[in-house]
C-alpha cells in the first residue's frame, strides 16, 4: 500500500536525521505512482501533487517523528477536498413529478441504476415511474420492464418511438396517476456521437428535467475526463452515479470527473441487486483510491 511504500522511503531517511525537500520529492514520486495506478487523470495528478507538495515541505512534516503519517494525512485531505462533500441531495420539484434523467456511455449501468434509484426513492415515500427511453439496444425496454416488475414499480413505454415523445408522455402519465418521480432511462451513447448527443439534448428539452445524472463506470481510466467534460458541456449534468464499486478497481476516475466538472458524485453502485445503491462518502473513496 502507499503507506507501506512511504514508510519504506522515510525509514531509510530517518536514520540520517533531518528530513529534506529531496526526501519529500521521493515520497511525492511514490504518491504520483499510486494515483496513476489508481486511474486518476494524468493532469489532475499533476495538480494534486503540486498542492500536496506545498504542504508537505512545511515544518509539520520536516520535523515530524512519523513523516509518512503526515504525508499520508495531507494526501488524504487534499483528495477528500477534491472529492467534495458527500451530498446525495436530489433536486425535488416544487410541483411534481420530479424528473430524473440518466445518461452515460454504453454499459455503464444506467438501466440497473434506474431500478435502484426507483427503489431508493420509494423507500423514502415517493411514488416512482420508470420510463424506457432506450429505443436502440436490443431488448432494452424488456430489460427495464423486468427490472420494474421485480420491484413492483411501473414502467412507462411507447415501444420504439422518439425518446423525446416518450419522455413527454411519461411525465403526463405520471401527472395523471399522481406518481411523483419519473426516472428516464436513456440509451448508452458516445460523447463523440453527434446524433446521439443531439438525441439526449432533445430529450432534455422536451420535459423539465430536475436532475440529470451521468452514470460512470468506476473502472474507467484516463478517458473519464474527456467524456465527463463533453457530457457536462452538452447537458446540464447535476452530478454522477459511480457504478460497479463492488469490484477491486481503485476508482481514480471519481477524482478526475469531480475535479474537471465541479459536479458532485451523488450515489455509488455496489452490486447488481436493486438494493446495491449507496450515498457517496468522499473520505471512504479517498481511502480506496490510495489503496
Amino acid at each position: 500500500s502507499l503507506t507501506d511504500r512511504l514508510q519504506g522511503i522515510f525509514k531509510g531517511l530517518r536514520n540520517r536525521g533531518k528530513l529534506t525537500e529531496p526526501d519529500v520529492n521521493d515520497a511525492l514520486r511514490q504518491v504520483r505512482l499510486a494515483l496513476l495506478e489508481a486511474d486518476v487523470n494524468f493532469r489532475v495528478v499533476k495538480e494534486l501533487i503540486a498542492a500536496i507538495k506545498q504542504r508537505a515541505i512545511g515544518q509539520e512534516v520536516l520535523q515530524s517523528l512519523t513523516p509518512e503519517q503526515h504525508v499520508i494525512k495531507i494526501v488524504h485531505e487534499e483528495m477528500t477536498k477534491l472529492l467534495g462533500e458527500g451530498e446525495a441531495k436530489l433536486q425535488i420539484a416544487a410541483k411534481p413529478p420530479t424528473v430524473i434523467m440518466l445518461v452515460g456511455l454504453q454499459g455503464s449501468g444506467k438501466t440497473t441504476q434506474a431500478g435502484k434509484l426507483a427503489l431508493y426513492l420509494r423507500k423514502q415515500g415517493k411514488r416512482p415511474l420508470l420510463a424506457a427511453l432506450d429505443v436502440h439496444r436490443p431488448a432494452a425496454i424488456k430489460q427495464l420492464q423486468v427490472v420494474g416488475a421485480g420491484l413492483d414499480i411501473p414502467v412507462f413505454t411507447l415501444g420504439e418511438q422518439d425518446p423525446a415523445q416518450i419522455a413527454r408522455a411519461a411525465v403526463s402519465h405520471a401527472e395523471s396517476h399522481t406518481l411523483d418521480v419519473v426516472i428516464l432511462d436513456t440509451a448508452g451513447r458516445l460523447h463523440v456521437d453527434d446524433q446521439m448527443m443531439a438525441e439526449a439534448k432533445r430529450i432534455a428539452a422536451a420535459v423539465t428535467v430536475h436532475e440529470t445524472l451521468l452514470v460512470v463506470d468506476a473502472m474507467t481510466g484516463q478517458d473519464a475526463v474527456n467524456m465527463a467534460e463533453a457530457f457536462t458541456e452538452a447537458l446540464p449534468v447535476d452530478g454522477f452515479i459511480l457504478t460497479k464499486l463492488d469490484s477491486d478497481t481503485r476508482g481514480g476516475a471519481a477524482i478526475s470527473i469531480r475535479a474537471v466538472t465541479g459536479r458532485p458524485i451523488k450515489f455509488v453502485g455496489v452490486g447488481e441487486k436493486m438494493d446495491a445503491l449507496e450515498v457517496f462518502h468522499p473520505d471512504r473513496m479517498a481511502n480506496r483510491i490510495l489503496g
Binding site: F42, Q143, D217, M227
Partner: protein
Amino acid sequence: LMSRRGIDDELFEELEELLVRADVSIHTTTRLVEELREAARREKLRDAEGVRAYLRQELVNLLMEGHRPLTQPPTPPAVYLFVGVNGVGKTTSIAKLAHLLKRRRQKVLLAAADTFRAAAIDQLEVWGQRVGVDVIRQKEGSDPAAVVFDALQAARARRADVVLVDTAGRLHTKTNLMEELRKVHRVIERELGRPPDETLLVLDATTGQNAVSQARTFKDAVNVTGLVLAKLDGTAKGGNILTIQNELKIPILLVGTGEQLDAIEEFNPKQFVDALFA
C-alpha cells in the same frame, strides 16, 4: 518544423504523458521510455521524429507477438467462450462475430448461457434473429452449464461449424461467480474432449488499470486465450492491452468499433498504434 525538433527531456515527458493518457500503465510506460532513451543514444537517433518513429515501431513489434487468427479446430464445431466483467460488450461482440462468420459461410450457433441478468436471453435472441442464426436457450435462472451442454449437443446434431457461448457479466473478484464460470469451462472441455477453442475475454476500451487485474484473474480461472477490445470507437485508446500482451502473453484478436453488426475487425497492431499517436 516538428521533425527538426531536438531530443530533450521535454520530449520524453510528452511521450510519457501520451502513453499514460492512453491507459498504458505507468509501470510499462516508465520501462518503455527508459528503453527509448537508451535506444536514442545507442541508435544515435537525430531528432524528435526519429524517437517517435522508433517508439511506434517498438509498440507494433510488441503487439505483433502472438498476433494470430481465431483458432480453428481439426473437427467442428469450433467453440468460442466469451467472458468478462459487467457491461463490457460480450453479447454484442458475439452477435458481430456471428455475422462475420456467417458471411464466411460458416454455420453458427449461439448459446444463451447468461441465465441471470434481466432480459439477457431476449437480447441475444433479438441479435440471433437479426443475424439469422439459431440461439440455444433455456429458462431464465437455469444452470448456465446445462445451456452449454444443450448447445454442444445441438451443434453436433445440426453439424454447426461454430458455437459462440455468451456468459453473464461477472466481477473477477466474486469467487462464486468465477467458480460458476469454471464449471461452464469444464462442461465444454468434457463434452468436446478438449478445452474451448478460444476463451475470449472481452474488455471495454474505456477501462483503466483494472483491465490488467481482470485479465490476470480470468486467465487463472479459465485460461483466457485471447482478448476482444470493445468500444474502440470512443475516445479511449485501450493502452492497457500493452501490459496484458507483454506480461500475461494474451494476444488481442478482435476489436469492436461500434454498435452495429459490421462493427468488428480483426486486430491490426499498426492501426492500433497509429490511433494511440493520433
